[in-house]
């Protein structure tokens, strides 16, 4: 019964989305206010029904109802409940249902809480939102029904890919999806603004919290995904330039550019057309990401569906939405008036530079990700890997960091080059000193890119704190703190990346229980190998006592075996210290009783993810700062009246 109820809820939600689109279209065109009055309740109803469908699917997974095809092929009755729960979206259909649910809830929120927009723009936004949702409802109902039954249910089910059975990965996709969907709302705002000819500062202020929220979640999602790949895959790296990673990086790059340009539009009323364009691109990138990951065109742990029909369905949606939005943009952009002017030396120009550099990186990553698909269409198998991306992204990212250090130190509208140069003096001196010191100490031992990375990271660190210089700290608005912390987070992350690539020490050995290994100042005493068992796996676990000077600490790298599906995984042992991480992977047993072991000492590697968390925190503070100002404003207006 539950599955049928879920399917019914999904159909009703889709019907309400259709109704929502119809009400907006006919109501706006005919100026029928009573039709438009119904739009908000319909949007709320749609959100509720989609949520109901999702909750019912979660219930099916938690109850291990093997008569449902999706549960049988992706879950197992012996699995820990957390992974039954998270397994709901650890597959194609479930993740698409999660997508429309989040989208429905976001639409309901826009219907209920949005106050900054004029009524016609608000309605057009809800119409655009319904149009996007409809495509995804159609996709679910016609080609990937999550509630389909099977005639002869198995007793146990096939299980979830063990690589996905990890708390980090269980919550990583929803975070990313919330970010993607936040961008879809920004996209709907842009479409609404174009349709009603209201591309202005008020529109940007309404869109900004959505962009900020989406950006915070994308940042968290990427950071968590990177840390997951680092500790779960056991290869010691933190970014692989896997197409699936790129699929989440590209929307983030676009959202970062959008975040900065929407700020220009909201505060200075400049960059109108560009901001609308970026809103279209940002959501297009999240669609492209979904297409790449879910169409099965790429193989990866994340790519579930190897089904050309679904791929072409998503491709069709992609063409429809992106093409439609671009056509609308081309048609209406002539009516968007020019915004406020600004001088060449100004905060606006710095933000334009930021936007250009981000767009260039985005373009290059997109080319690198799609190139293999394009050449394969012409019969050549090509793979574009890390060397390409490192080579193109590294130098531009360094330029971007310089712009980031200088940007907050320039004034809005107009500034004098000489004065900006003076403000840049302290970070520049810091950078010069660090460059000289580091050069003297480690020249020739670290690569050029890590060298510049460290120097620029320190300069950016100081540059990003500079806006707080000589300010009354308690009077400084929260969103200024947000910017400072987010920029500082970038510096921290870059410092971590540079340290990791410059100073990591790696050792690969074959050892017997009882052996000692010395590396990077650490002593590892390999005591024994023990078999152990978990909920749905067994493992061989090494007991290793490690110390550097002080007392020994035990660490336990494992080799795990899962029976459903039959797979083995490597569980690395990580020992975190303030100045870095010791990372130990247990390999296979050689014929003579020796065990392969790979050991890394990674100085300051944790800064990479700490920086990511700081960036997200900065975004969150900014969001709270802007929202609080809005609340205060409304509260004062109400008390005055």
């Amino acid at each position: 019964m539950i599955a049928e109820a879920g399917l019914a809820a999904l159909w009703f939600a889709a019907a309400l989305a259709l109704l929502q689109l119809f009400l907006v279209g006919v109501g706006s065109a005919g100026g029928k206010s009573e039709l438009l009055d119904a739009v908000r309740p319909v949007a709320v109803g749609q959100g509720l029904l989609a949520s109901l469908a999702f909750v019912l699917l979660v219930t099916l997974f938690l109850r291990s109802d093997m008569s449902v095809l999706l549960v049988a092929s992706n879950s197992h009755s012996m699995k820990p409940w957390l992974y039954k729960f998270a397994g709901t979206w650890g597959n194609h259909e479930g993740s698409m249902l999660l997508w429309v649910t989040v989208m429905g809830v976001a639409g309901a929120a826009v219907a209920l809480f949005e106050r900054a927009l004029r009524r016609d723009a608000h309605m057009a936004t809800l119409g655009a939102q319904a149009a996007i949702s409809l495509g995804f409802y159609a996709f679910l109902l016609f080609s990937s029904n999550p509630f389909a039954r099977i005639a002869s249910p198995p007793t146990d089910g096939q299980g979830l890919n063990p690589l996905l059975q990890d708390p980090g990965l269980a919550f990583h996709p929803p975070t990313l999806y919330l970010g993607y969907v936040g961008l879809s709302v920004a996209f709907s705002f842009a479409v609404g603004a174009l349709l009603t000819r209201q591309v202005d500062a008020a529109f940007a202020r309404a869109m900004r919290p959505w962009v900020l929220g989406a950006w915070v979640l994308l940042t968290l999602g990427i950071t968590a995904g990177s840390y997951w790949a680092y500790y779960e895959l056991g290869w010691g790296g933190w970014w692989f330039w896997d197409p699936v990673e790129n699929a989440s990086l590209m929307p983030w790059l676009a959202a970062t550019a959008l975040l900065h340009s929407v700020t220009v539009l909201a505060t200075r009323d400049a960059l109108r057309a560009w901001t609308v364009m970026l809103a279209v691109i940002a959501f297009s990138m999240s669609m492209v990401g979904t297409f790449l990951v879910r169409s099965g065109i790429l193989t990866s742990v994340h790519a579930f569906a190897v089904d050309p029909e679904r791929g072409s369905f998503i491709l069709g949606l992609l063409a429809l939405y992106i093409g439609g939005a671009l056509a609308l943009f081309g048609w209406r952009i002539g009516t968007v008036r020019e915004g406020a002017p600004f001088e060449l030396v100004s905060r606006e120009t710095m933000l334009v530079v930021n936007n250009l550099l981000l767009s260039v990186i985005l373009g290059l990553v997109l080319i690198g990700t799609l190139y293999p698909l394009m050449t394969e269409a012409f019969g050549h198998k090509v793979s574009v890997g890390a060397p390409y991306f490192d080579r193109i992204a590294g130098p531009i990212a360094l330029l971007l960091l310089i712009a980031m250090a200088a940007g907050p130190l320039t004034r809005w509208r107009r500034d004098q080059a000489r004065v900006v140069a003076q403000r840049m003096l302290v970070p520049a001196i810091v950078a010069a000193i660090v460059a000289a010191l580091l050069g003297a100490l480690a020249w020739g031992r670290i690569g050029l890119l890590p060298y510049f990375g460290l120097v620029i990271a320190l300069a950016v660190g100081f540059g990003s704190l500079a806006p707080l210089w000589k300010r009354k700290l308690r009077r400084t608005p929260l969103f200024t703190y947000g910017m400072v912390i987010a920029h500082l987070g970038c510096a921290v992350s870059v410092a971590g990346m540079a340290c990791d690539s410059a100073f990591t020490v790696e050792k690969l050995v074959a050892v017997r229980p009882g052996d000692r290994i010395e590396t990077a100042g650490w002593t590892l005493y390999f005591q024994r190998i023990m078999p152990i068992a978990g909920d749905n796996w067994t493992a061989l676990q090494a007991d290793i006592a490690v110390n550097r000077g002080g007392d020994a600490v035990m660490i336990h790298p494992q080799s795990r075996f899962f029976t459903a599906p039959p797979t083995s995984t490597t569980e690395a042992a990580l020992l975190t210290r303030w100045n870095g991480q010791l990372y130990v992977v247990l390999g296979q047993e050689a014929d003579d009783g020796r065990w392969q072991m790979r050991i890394w000492w990674k100085p300051f590697v944790t800064l990479i993810w700490l920086g990511g968390a700081l960036i997200a925190l900065g975004g969150l503070l900014s969001l709270i700062g802007h929202e609080r100002r809005g609340w205060l404003h409304r509260w004062r207006a109400r008390s005055a009246a």
Binding site: V509, A510, R594
Partner: protein, 148 residues
């Protein structure tokens, strides 16, 4: 400065940026796109020593040998038409085994041995590396075939 001029400058800067980026991408792709080779491609087209490529195929049954240091292994990679020797030092992925598909990143040394720096094996039983799509392996004859 007039707004028109300023906009012109920005547009020019953007154009220079885009063209520069395009050239950079083209140059980097030309050098760095690791071309995918099957053993028969290696034999027919030849690969320069030291050129970074991806080699894909099946690990020939009975060819896997561990060296005395315990961390190096040698194996042969085949696509049914040709076979090349390979060497890898490190911890192999869990699903790396004889008779199984593999994509190896690395380069040929002067003796014609493929020195792999990284092995990409199947993540789980259900799928093959994308590059090996369209190849099947016959367990009894140890032959690889391209399926139509």
């Amino acid at each position: 400065m007039k707004a028109k001029h300023q906009r012109l400058i920005l547009v020019l800067v953007a154009l220079v940026g885009l063209v520069g980026a395009g050239l950079l991408a083209a140059a980097a792709l030309k050098d760095e796109a690791a071309y995918f080779y099957a053993p028969s491609d290696v034999k027919s087209r030849g690969v320069d020593t030291g050129k970074a490529i991806r080699l894909g195929g099946m690990v020939v049954k009975g060819s896997l040998k561990h060296a005395a240091d315990g961390v190096t292994m040698r194996f042969d990679v085949t696509d049914g038409k040709a076979t090349v020797p390979a060497r890898f030092t490190g911890i192999a992925p869990d699903l790396f085994k004889e008779g199984s598909g593999v994509v190896a990143e690395g380069a040929f040394d002067s003796e014609g041995v493929f020195v792999a720096t990284n092995l990409l094996a199947k993540h789980d039983e259900r799928y093959m590396p994308r590059e090996l799509d369209g190849m099947t392996y016959n367990e009894t004859t140890h032959e690889m075939k391209a399926t139509p």
